[in-house]
């Protein structure tokens, strides 16, 4: 009796396995297509080109800076949404996710309306401080942060809501301030959620295209990140575009795999 039950439990149900396998194939087959079409014989000389390294470096730097911006602003925002007693929290939570559903190009246009040279804030930045964000590397970081921050906020907020608030309350009864309790009790307990959100956020920023090209434009060495370089290479030299894509793919998979192993290897 026990053995049959164990077997029943051990067998994977087809209704789950079949869609899972199809889902896996759906996600992986396009990547295989990329690898199959890659011009492996001429790969080294294409990679040696200066523009590839430049675009890759810029991509990694901008995605990392955008992630830092998202961490500094996004973790407190997630805390406010999960723990703060702010009116209309449900609406705020929905608004925070707007960049997720907004087409990135629209996000870029919206950023131009606010931070562009004639934008609501941008015109003052330009007139008072001589700061102009469009067409700069800082603009790339902003555009990426705008698109990627919701991923971080949602992950961290989810972790906060799943965390037991009684530990914080216990810390408070022992005399800890809310800030101390946040740093010493809450943050360590939600660290896996923060790391997962950070990884998602970085990955999203790395692949960002629409908001970047709309807000920051495209100039080699300053705003041409890998996705922009891929898009433009497609116009004239599809093989180079494939090479760039493969490089971006390998670098991101490498970084994500390394991070997963170190930080978010859950119970296996």
């Amino acid at each position: 009796m026990t053995s049959t039950r164990r077997r029943a439990r051990g067998r994977l149900p087809v209704v789950l396995v079949l869609p899972a396998v199809i889902g896996l194939a759906f996600l992986l087959v396009p990547l295989v297509g990329l690898l199959v079409r890659a011009p492996w014989s001429t790969l080294p000389e294409r990679l040696a080109g200066e523009s590839v390294g430049q675009a890759l470096r810029l991509s990694l730097v901008c995605a990392s800076l955008a992630t830092v911006v998202c961490l500094v602003l996004g973790v407190p925002l997630a805390w406010l949404l999960a723990r703060g007693d702010v009116p209309g929290r449900g609406l705020l939570r929905a608004l925070v996710t707007v960049p997720l559903v907004l087409p990135p190009v629209v996000g870029g246009v919206a950023l131009l309306f606010v931070l562009g040279r004639r934008g609501l804030l941008g015109q003052h930045l330009d007139a008072w401080f001589g700061i102009s964000l469009p067409f700069t590397t800082a603009g790339v970081v902003l555009a990426e942060a705008f698109v990627a921050m919701p991923f971080l906020v949602i992950s961290v907020e989810g972790a906060l809501r799943a965390a037991d608030p009684r530990y914080e309350e216990a810390a408070a009864t022992l005399g800890a301030s809310r800030w101390l309790a946040f740093r010493r009790v809450t943050l360590p307990s939600i660290l896996p959620g923060v790391v997962a959100g950070t990884v998602l956020c970085w990955a999203r920023a790395l692949g960002e295209f629409g908001a970047t090209i709309t807000f920051a434009g495209n100039f080699p060495g300053e705003t041409t990140t890998m996705p922009l370089a891929v898009y433009l290479a497609l116009e004239s030299d599809p093989e180079s575009a494939i090479v760039l894509s493969v490089v971006l793919l390998l670098v991101s998979v490498g970084v994500l795999a390394a991070l997963r192993d170190r930080w978010i290897s859950g119970p296996s």
Binding site: R118, F135, F219, A233
Partner: protein, 248 residues
């Protein structure tokens, strides 16, 4: 977004046919350069009005991107390219049903935001490091034409951004994010009121030919040829001329 348009076209295309009485019916799918958006939309409406039962569907985009989609088997009946070289890719792959013909010409013009706040007066201002300049990337036809203009004038342009198509360049001018840009004369015309155009000497060297051809894989061959004829008709020429195109 392009991919989505392509999926929509895949679903929608392939239902054109010639009715028994010889009239053209069904759906005609036209892939056309982004700079033809305004004129071809109007010509499509004309064509639909003259041929009841015909539905003309457009996919506007950068010519080279469109050529690539056609090469990958996108179901298009007609291709109108902003550059003969892009059309040549389709011809070389055996993609056309008839020889491409030149139906219009376009030339570059300097575009500045309304009121010309930076006081741009000519091509030489494009070498000014302080001016915000947008150009098309050299990989797309408008960028190649801009390069010819600067080479001929002996000016080293100092752009702040190299956009992926001419409409993106125009948007930057419309929003006032750049002081000057090089776009087609037709683009300046289409944004009249927001954008001012400045002709420059040597623009004759930037003329590019627009070519059109029915496609071999056309699900609707008769419709494709009829639409090409419509573009080349007197009515077609008038619409194109009004938008600022030169006659071939």
């Amino acid at each position: 977004m392009r991919a989505l348009a392509l999926v929509a076209l895949l679903v929608l295309a392939g239902c054109g046919e010639r009715a028994p009485d010889g009239a053209v019916t069904g759906r005609i799918t036209v892939f056309a350069a982004a700079s033809l958006t305004g004129t071809f939309t109007r010509l499509g409406e004309d064509f639909e009005a003259a041929n009841p039962g015909v539905d003309v569907v457009f996919n506007f985009g950068g010519s080279s991107g469109l050529a690539r989609q056609i090469g990958q088997g996108a179901p298009a009946d007609v291709f109108a390219s902003a550059a003969p070289s892009t059309m040549a890719q389709v011809v070389d792959a055996g993609g056309t049903a008839a020889a491409p013909v030149t139906f219009a010409r376009n030339r570059l013009e300097i575009a500045v935001p309304r009121g010309n706040p930076a006081g741009i007066s000519g091509l030489a201002d494009f070498g000014d490091a302080d001016a915000k300049i947008a150009l098309c990337a050299e990989q797309v036809p408008c960028g190649a034409a801009a390069k010819r203009a600067f080479d001929a004038a002996g000016i080293t342009a100092r752009p702040d951004t190299l956009e992926q198509d001419v409409k993106a360049v125009l948007t930057k001018v419309r929003l006032g994010e750049v002081d000057a840009a090089l776009v087609y004369r037709t683009d300046v015309r289409s944004a009249a009121g927001e954008v001012e155009g400045i002709a420059f000497p040597g623009a004759d060297g930037t003329v590019n030919d627009y070519v059109i051809a029915p496609l071999a894989a056309a699900p609707d061959d008769a419709g494709a040829r009829a639409f090409v004829e419509h573009v080349r008709s007197d009515r077609g020429r008038a619409v194109l001329a009004e938008a600022g195109f030169d006659a071939p």
